[in-house]
């Protein structure tokens, strides 16, 4: 059974790009456009990894990381922030919230897959 990854981004194009790459590499991908939608998916299925944007309407990525970390099923799950934000201040906030890593957009598909394989396989 293929590993499952939850991608969270309000941008349709980013969700599509992520789905192309991850599905092409054999992963099962579930997409969410908002934090709330992500939490709904996360509470009904234990994903092997979460990739989330930071700036989203209705709730940002850091809040989502905190909310996921409060769920027992997600205490150890790799959560990577995938965002245009690259300041040290934001990365520190990500680290404090419990994120596993920080990747800056636009991302390289091969680099993304390296990171995913490192944690998921």
């Amino acid at each position: 059974m293929s590993k499952s990854i939850l991608t969270v981004d309000d941008s349709t194009s980013m969700r599509q790009m992520l789905a192309f790459i991850l599905k092409g590499a054999g992963y099962h991908v579930v997409q969410a456009a908002t934090s709330d939608e992500a939490l709904t998916h996360a509470s009904s299925h234990a994903f092997d990894m979460v990739l989330t944007d930071q700036n989203m309407p209705g709730g940002d990525g850091l809040d989502l990381v905190c909310a996921l970390r409060s769920l027992p099923a997600y205490s150890e799950t790799p959560i990577i922030m995938l965002t245009t934000e690259s300041s040290e201040e934001m990365k520190n906030k990500g680290r404090a919230a419990g994120a596993t890593g920080w990747m800056v957009k636009p991302f390289d598909p091969n680099r993304l897959l390296e990171v995913v394989r490192k944690f998921v396989n």
Binding site: S13, F20, T84, G101, W102, K105, F107
Partner: protein, 168 residues
């Protein structure tokens, strides 16, 4: 929709006609910019939708060809993979552009609110009394400062680190 200047003709006669007309003209310009941004977003979404659909087909062909490993030489497969990888990075322009449009829209809305507040202050002065210029200018200065700070942060966020990865 912003109010038409013609609705305020009586106020023009009572208080600061030149200033109020200028404010209303600026609000009309901002309303136009807001429409332009909305139209730009529609055009962007429409164009990207078509490009993404074509890219999905190319990507699916590349994945299928790599899986079967026949019909295409290794060199051709490598070239196809390079094209799809490059397109995956370049097509992320839509996300960046969409965020920039969000920033523009936010700035336009902030300026609109500031102009509405300024207009209310200017038109509240009874005929014959001095214009409340000081408080109105304070509102505008505060708005300019907050927009500049937001713009600086947005530029700084995009200046460095594209594609970088940091694992904690």
């Amino acid at each position: 929709m912003l109010d038409s200047p013609s609705m305020f003709d009586n106020q023009y006669n009572q208080a600061q006609p030149g200033t109020l007309r200028a404010i209303d003209a600026l609000r009309d310009i901002l309303a136009g910019v807001k429409r332009d941004v909305a139209r730009s977003r529609e055009v962007l979404n429409g164009a990207f939708g078509k490009i993404a659909a074509r890219f999905a087909r190319v990507h699916a062909i590349a994945v299928a060809a790599e899986g079967r490993k026949h019909g295409l030489s290794d060199e051709a497969l490598r070239a196809l993979r390079e094209v799809t990888d490059g397109l995956t990075i370049e097509l992320q322009f839509e996300d960046s552009l969409s965020q920039l449009l969000d920033h523009i829209q936010g700035k336009v809305e902030a300026m609109g609110v500031a102009l509405t507040e300024t207009r209310a202050m200017m038109s509240s002065a009874p005929a014959g009394e001095a214009e409340p210029v000081g408080p109105a200018l304070e509102v505008l200065a505060r708005t300019v400062k907050s927009i500049q700070m937001a713009a600086d942060a947005a530029v700084a966020d995009r200046a460095f680190g594209h594609g970088s990865v940091e694992l904690f």
